[in-house]
Amino acid sequence: MQVTVTVNGVEYTKEIEGRLLLVHFLRDTLGLTGTHWGCDTSNCGTCVVWMDGEPVKSCTVLAAMAGGREVRTVEGLANGAELDPIQEGFRQCHGLQCGFCTPGMLMTCRHLLDKNPDPTEGEIREAISGQICRCTGYSSIVRSVRWAAVHEAEAAETKEEAVAQ
């Protein structure tokens, strides 16, 4: 069957099998290997991408289900060479070690900050409760998200001041 999916703003039309999972469509058909594939059982969350603005576990979504929808992956976070604040937070606060869980963590935490720009530790832990990190531990991921929250707020303030002047 033919499917047309918009990924990070680019429209792709591909011939696929109905049973192809979205995670494999992204990684194998499109070559976007930033999205990782781990447990295959909707438990680890490394495969999280956005579909029409909501984080989903792409190992449990058919590529065909994404037809006509907008997908955003970890490749869609940075603006050219400029990292998204959430990525910068993970870099600054050691939010990753091996990096396997990171794409899913980044997509979930970006979504959290968009909905709730000043999340508490409890809210961050709840948001990533469907995801597993085997290395870094969750404390540094929480710190990374807080780093991004604080820096985004500061950046917004600076921008407002600049506009006021």
Binding site: G18, D40, K57, L62, A64, S129, Q131
Partner: protein, 291 residues
């Protein structure tokens, strides 16, 4: 790598068109809603179909929470997240928010639906226990129109429902009774987001004098289907709620349920949980009804 066996993908654009497809394709076709129960089963080849009919585009038609004076109607495509986030629903039936907080995780809740949960008919399913607690009925639509069945009639057995191959579950209806009411849900799980070892829902309706007009308890993971326990309702009706009454209800729950020993715990432990969670949720439901 877990991949489903080959199938043809179809996308439904309306409820009527979905029924038309089901009529045409018969038992070789299956509806897929959130896919978070069906796709894992297909990946493990526990389920195989020639056709999958994607009903996610029906969210516009079947994704709603409508609060009426004597009934709450919830569309089958309403997602877990929407049930969790609805303040209006939490106001009338707090049991929904209690349960949704402990169903799976936030990402799974973005996809899974009320209809899929009920149709999966897993004995550990939390929303089935909630709907049983609230005495919900299910609206099933086919080519010849609609029929409405109770939760008891809906669940025919584990993983089996009253929905025929050529039908679709469209709506859940929950009666709103007069007087003060309260409801609550509690679950014991091995880790965050896991299926229940045991869970319980309770709902209480009080009369003018503060006596129990009606009470219902629904349990999950302690029998072939999520179970409502009429004996508890009978024992509680007409009485003033107090701790000894909750104890009695807990004892009935423990002896009426039918748990089995598995990796989540022994049957004995599960009976203990059925007792404890029945008391806990009744206590909370009464507290809410009074406040």
């Amino acid at each position: 790598m877990q991949v489903p066996a080959p199938f043809e993908y179809e996308r439904a654009t309306s409820v009527d068109q979905a029924i038309g497809l089901l009529e045409r394709l018969g038992s070789s076709a299956r509806l897929v809603a959130g896919g978070h129960s069906l796709l894992p089963m297909m990946k493990l080849r526990l389920a195989n179909f020639e056709y999958l009919i994607d009903i996610n585009d029906l969210h516009g038609e079947l994704g709603y929470i409508r609060l009426g004076a004597d009934e709450v109607r919830i569309g089958a495509m309403t997602r877990h997240r929407e049930l969790l986030e609805s303040d209006a629903l939490a106001q009338v039936f707090p049991v929904f928010r209690d349960a949704e907080k402990v169903i799976a995780d936030p990402i799974v809740r973005n996809r899974g639906t009320l209809g899929g949960s009920l149709c999966q008919a897993d004995p550990s399913e939390d929303l089935s226990a909630v709907c049983t607690t609230l005495d919900a009925s299910c609206v099933i639509r086919g080519a010849n129109g609609e029929r409405v069945v109770s939760m008891e009639e809906f669940h025919v057995g584990p993983y089996e429902t009253a929905v025929a191959d050529n039908e679709i579950l469209t709506e859940i209806r929950i009666p709103v009774k007069s007087g003060k009411s309260g409801s609550a849900y509690a679950k014991v799980e091995r880790r965050a987001g896991d299926w229940a070892v045991v869970s319980a829902g309770a709902a209480i309706w009080l009369d003018d004098k503060g006596h129990i007009h009606d009470a219902r308890v629904g349990l999950a993971a302690v029998g072939p289907n999520t179970t409502g326990i009429p004996e508890i309702s009978a024992a509680l009706r007409g009485h003033e709620p107090d701790e000894s009454l909750f104890e009695l209800a807990g004892a009935i729950a423990a002896r009426s349920c039918d748990p089995s020993t598995d990796t989540r715990g022994s049957a004995e432990y599960k009976r203990h949980l059925a007792d404890e969670l029945t008391r806990r949720t009744l206590r909370k439901a009464v507290e809410r009804a009074r406040s």
